[in-house]
Structures are given as C-alpha cells and as structure tokens.
C-alpha cells in the first residue's frame, strides 16, 4: 500500500483539485488489486513462515518453538527423494517441452496445409486437467491394461513398457505425461515468436546463400530469446507446482518413488498432521522459487529501463 498511496508525486506543477484527482485516480484503481495481493499472498507467506516455527500439527497453533520443524524436515528421507525427483522431473520436463515445442513450432511454420487443424491438437492437452485425463493416462501406462498389453495383443509379444510400476522409472512416466500436457503451449509461444520475426532478415540471409539449417541456428533461434525466457519461467513454475499430475498418475508411488515437494507439502500438512513440517517445506519451496524468479524479474525490469 505504501508504494501506491504514499509514492512521491511526480514533479508536476499543475494547479487545481481536478488535476490532483487525476494524479491519484490511477493509484486508486490499482490499490484494491495490490491490497488483495499484499494480504492474500504476502500476508499468507508470512503466516506460513510463522507456522514453520511452531509445533502445529492438525490445525495451526501459534506458540513459537524455534527451528524444530526445519530440523525435522531435513531429517526426512522423503524430503530428499522429493528434491531429487524435482531435479530430475524439472530438468527433463523443461528440456523436452522446449525441444518438442520448438520443433513443432518450426515445422508448423513451414506454410503447412492444415495448420488450423494441427495447432489445436497440439494445444488441447493444456486445456484439460489431470483430474480429467488421469484415468486415461493411468490405463495407458499400466503394463497390464495399456500400451504394453495392446502391443502384445497385436502380436508384439516381447514389447515392454512398465515404467509406471518400476521404482526407478516411474518418475519418467510423470515426465511423459507432463510434457504431453505442456509442450503444445510452449509450441504456441514459439510459434508466436516465429511469426513476430521480420521476414526481411531471413530474405537477406537467403540471398547471402545461407542454408535453411544455418538460418535457423544463427538467426532465428537467437531472435527467439524472449520466447525462450518466457517458456522457461512458465515451465519452471509449473514444474514446481506440479501436483495433480503426480496424484493422478502414481499417487507418489511406487513406494515414494515419485514424491515431489508439492506432494510432500500437501501430505505433511494435511494427511500426516505435521503442519509445521509442511509449512517448513512450503517455505523452502518459496525460497527455491525466489532464487529462480527474483533474478529474472530483476534483470527483465532493469532492461526495460534502458
């Protein structure tokens, strides 16, 4: 609030109440939104931070007990599994979404007939929640019901696809479903980026005799930098928040093989009645998110200044 309301007035020497009102009006318009966010986001973050120093179990208690919840958190083998899984899942998810999204966008950008049909096909998974598609995915990945059985019924007896039930491989099935959902969205972002590039630059390069491949490598892809950045930010935040995905596909199993920080946090806060530990993990998640987002925001907003 202080920022909006008490901000130093720009030095303008216009007289009159009307002008004064005009200066204040924009801030009045912005104020409710900002107030909502201050309260419901930053207020709640502080509240979570506070809870992480209590001994809250089934419901919040407000007596401070120090760092116990953090000590407990970092002694949970589950937490390490969750962090490791997030590293595997996050990096593969971001990499494959971008690789597939970029490939599809470049291919779609080749004056393709039927683009109007193909584009929504690539985009639609983003429209569906895993509450909706979870059952279909679970079937599909289950060796006894899905792809493996189908292939074997069709005569490919030795076909194996049993990642869902393997503790080592299950996290990769989560990656597959995640990439399926988000890569079309990434494609749309890259497609928008490609369509925004000035075609004169490409023509000039073609006249110079550059091959299609090197035009892409040396000119177009570097020009897509803003789209890359947006994609990484959007994907990173979706990776960290991924919850429905894991619950629908594996429920965190087999064993705890697909536990992620988000499922960890939910289960400690709500299922396991260790709300303080859940809050501590939420604080750690927020710190992780801050480490990615704040430098990005800082550089982006600074750049604009020039």
């Amino acid at each position: 609030m202080t920022v909006t309301v008490d901000a130093v007035e720009p030095v303008r020497h216009r007289a009159g109440v009307l002008d004064k009102a005009r200066d204040i009006l924009p801030k009045v318009v912005l104020a409710p939104s900002f107030a909502l966010i201050l309260f419901f986001v930053y207020g709640f973050i502080l509240w979570t931070l506070y809870l992480s120093f209590t001994n809250s179990r089934i419901l919040p208690v407000y007596e401070l007990v120090g760092f116990g919840a953090y000590v407990n958190l970092w002694s949970q083998p589950n937490w390490y599994v969750a962090l490791q899984n997030l590293a595997i899942f996050g990096s593969l998810y971001i990499f494959f979404c971008i690789a597939i999204g970029l490939t599809l966008a470049i291919l779609l950008d080749q004056r393709i007939r039927g683009e109007g049909v193909l584009r929504p096909i690539f985009l639609y998974p983003m429209a569906l929640s895993f509450v909706v598609t979870g059952t279909a995915w679970k079937w599909f990945l289950n060796p006894g019901l899905g792809l493996q059985r189908t292939m074997q019924q069709w005569g490919w007896e030795s076909f194996r696809f049993d990642w869902l039930t393997s503790t080592d491989m299950a996290i990769y099935t989560v990656v597959i479903a995640g990439v399926w959902q988000a890569s079309g969205f990434v494609m749309a972002m890259f497609l928008a980026g490609l369509r925004g590039i000035d075609s004169e630059i490409i023509k000039a390069a073609e006249i110079d005799g550059a091959s299609t491949f090197s035009i892409y490598r040396r000119i177009i892809i570097p020009l897509l930098r803003p789209a890359f950045l947006s994609a990484v930010i959007v994907l990173a935040h979706m990776a960290i928040k991924s919850y429905d995905l894991v619950i629908a596909l594996t429920g965190g199993g087999p064993g705890n093989a697909t536990e992620l920080p988000s499922t960890f946090m939910y289960s400690y806060t709500f299922t396991r009645s260790q709300m303080a530990v859940g809050s501590a993990s939420a604080v750690m998640m927020l710190m992780g998110i801050s480490a990615i987002i704040i430098p990005y925001l800082y550089s982006e907003l600074r750049e604009r200044e020039r």
Partner: protein, 293 residues
C-alpha cells in the same frame, strides 16, 4: 515469417515436406491418443471395456454412459448425475474470469501508462504472486473466508480465483500495453480525455488479442481447479472437478469406466471448445504480448 526451403532442389524439397508432414501427423496422433481412449471408452459397454483392447473401436457405440453421467450417476447419495455441478462451475468461472480480466486490464494500464515511482516494485510483487504454491494458502484462506462469511459459497470461490489470478492477468496486460504507443495517450490527454476515457476509447478497442489470451488462460485454470474447489465448496455447490473426482475415485464398487470417461468428457468440453474455437487467436494474442518477455 515462414522460412521457405525454396533454394534447395525440387526433389529434396519434396522429400523435406513429406518428412515435415509425417512428423507433424505422428505427433498429432500421439497427442490425440488419451482423448481418443477417453472417447471410445465412453462409448463402449462395460463388458467390452474389461475384455477388449484399449484402442479397439467400440463394436456397438452407444451414448448410454453419457446420459448416465449427465443425469443419473450417483455422486454421494444424490443420483442426479453431474449436470448440477456443471452449472456450479459455470456460475463460478464466469464472474471469476470477468473480474480478474477487468482488474488485470486496469492494472496493466496503470502500470504502463500512468507510472509512478515504485511501479516496478509493485509489478514485481504482483508477478511473484503467481508462484505461490496453492497448498500453502488453504488454511489461512479458509479462516478469512469464514471471517467474511463467504465460507462454502460460490462467491468465496470466485474471490479466491480472482486473487490468485490477478498476477497472471496483470502480467499479460502490462506486457501488451507496454508496446502500445505512448504518443496516442499523450494526444488524447491533450484533447482533454481523462483516465477512464483513454482506457475505454483507446486501449480497450485494440486489446482484443490479449483479452483472448487472458480469458483462455483464466478460464482453463479456474475451470480445472480442484484444490480450491474441494477445500472451499464441497457440498451441493461443488464445482465440476470435485464432482468428477467423487465419481471416478470411489473407494468401492464396480468401476464404471464408461461413465467415468463420459463424465470426464463433460468436464473437459468447455475448455476444449474454448481452445479449439479461440486457438487461432491464442497464438495471435501471445504474439502480441505475452512472449515479449
């Protein structure tokens, strides 16, 4: 731009195009697979699902499961299908999308055209709000909703979705308006147009693409939300996703996969329609604003 492979010899160019089409079609088939499985399963009787191949077409397609899911399937003790919950979701999603989009547009307008010292900090803080894990806000939110008397109501759910959508809508509009020429605003100011008049007459008429992106984004997220719905509106006012979950994850009894899938299709239809109908504007809208970093 469209990079044309015109400088290469015709034979290899044709090969290249076949290759491109083949790749795109293969990907499209893979992407369609889950939807395909859902649709054909919803059209099969239970016996056929149990014994048959997941990918086999139904031998005698029937819409029985669809009618059952819509009108007679049991969710808890009420065997009235999911139709009521469908309307609950509509009642929630329309105001939530409208309010968050309007506020986002106004915020974007202020943050680009009526800047004040500290506007970057304000924007940064609003943007960071997009990243809060929703699981962490459930309990304090429940408390607040109770205090203001909106516990277990659609209005409460609308408030929640507006609050946690504001960061995104503000981001979209701010990036879009950033590129809007300041000169036009200045000229209008010279002519004596005020804050709202400029917004209404000059910015809004050219905001079509970004409104489409914002509405699609918000509509999808709010329609698909499960966590807030299950926590803040679990009774008769529950949204579609909660009812769907109740239907498909019953702890006991015969699993009626065809009804489950038909119900899932009902839950998916509105967002699917939005994506298919508005998909072309979506890329245009992204082009116009959202990917400019």
């Amino acid at each position: 731009m469209s990079a044309a492979a015109t400088s290469v010899s015709p034979g290899s160019a044709r090969f290249a195009r076949y290759f491109i089409y083949a790749t795109l079609v293969i990907f499209a088939l893979i992407y369609l697979l889950p939807l395909f499985v859902m649709i054909i399963t919803s059209l099969k009787p239970l016996d056929e699902i149990r014994s048959g191949n997941m990918l086999a077409l139904p031998q005698a397609p029937s819409l029985d499961a669809w009618f059952k899911a819509w009108g007679t399937a049991c969710v808890g003790v009420n065997c009235t299908g999911i139709s009521g919950y469908f309307w609950n979701s509509i009642k929630m999603v329309i105001p939530a999308v409208a309010i968050s989009t309007i506020l986002g547009a106004l915020n974007g307008y202020v943050l680009t055209k009526w800047r004040f010292p500290g506007h970057k900090l304000v924007f940064g803080m609003m943007l960071f709000a997009c990243f809060i894990p929703f699981q962490a806000v459930l309990i304090p939110m429940a408390r607040v909703l109770g205090e203001i008397g909106l516990s277990n109501t659609t209005a409460g759910l609308v408030l929640v979705h507006v609050v946690y959508g504001l960061g995104f809508t503000t981001l979209f509009f701010r990036n879009y308006y950033e590129a809007f020429p300041d000169e036009l605003i200045k000229a209008a100011q010279m002519d004596g147009a005020g804050f709202f008049k400029i917004f209404w007459r000059i910015l809004l008429p050219s905001s079509g693409p970004i409104i489409v992106v914002t509405v699609i984004y918000q509509f999808t997220n709010i329609w698909n939300d499960f966590l807030f719905g299950v926590s803040f509106a679990s009774g008769g006012g529950a949204p579609m996703t909660v009812a769907l979950n109740n239907l498909v994850s019953s702890s006991t009894g015969v699993k009626e996969y065809n009804v489950d899938m038909a119900a899932a299709m009902f839950a998916a239809l509105p967002t699917l329609i939005v994506y298919v109908v508005a998909g072309r504007y979506f890329v245009r809208g992204l082009m116009a604003g959202a990917v400019k970093g």
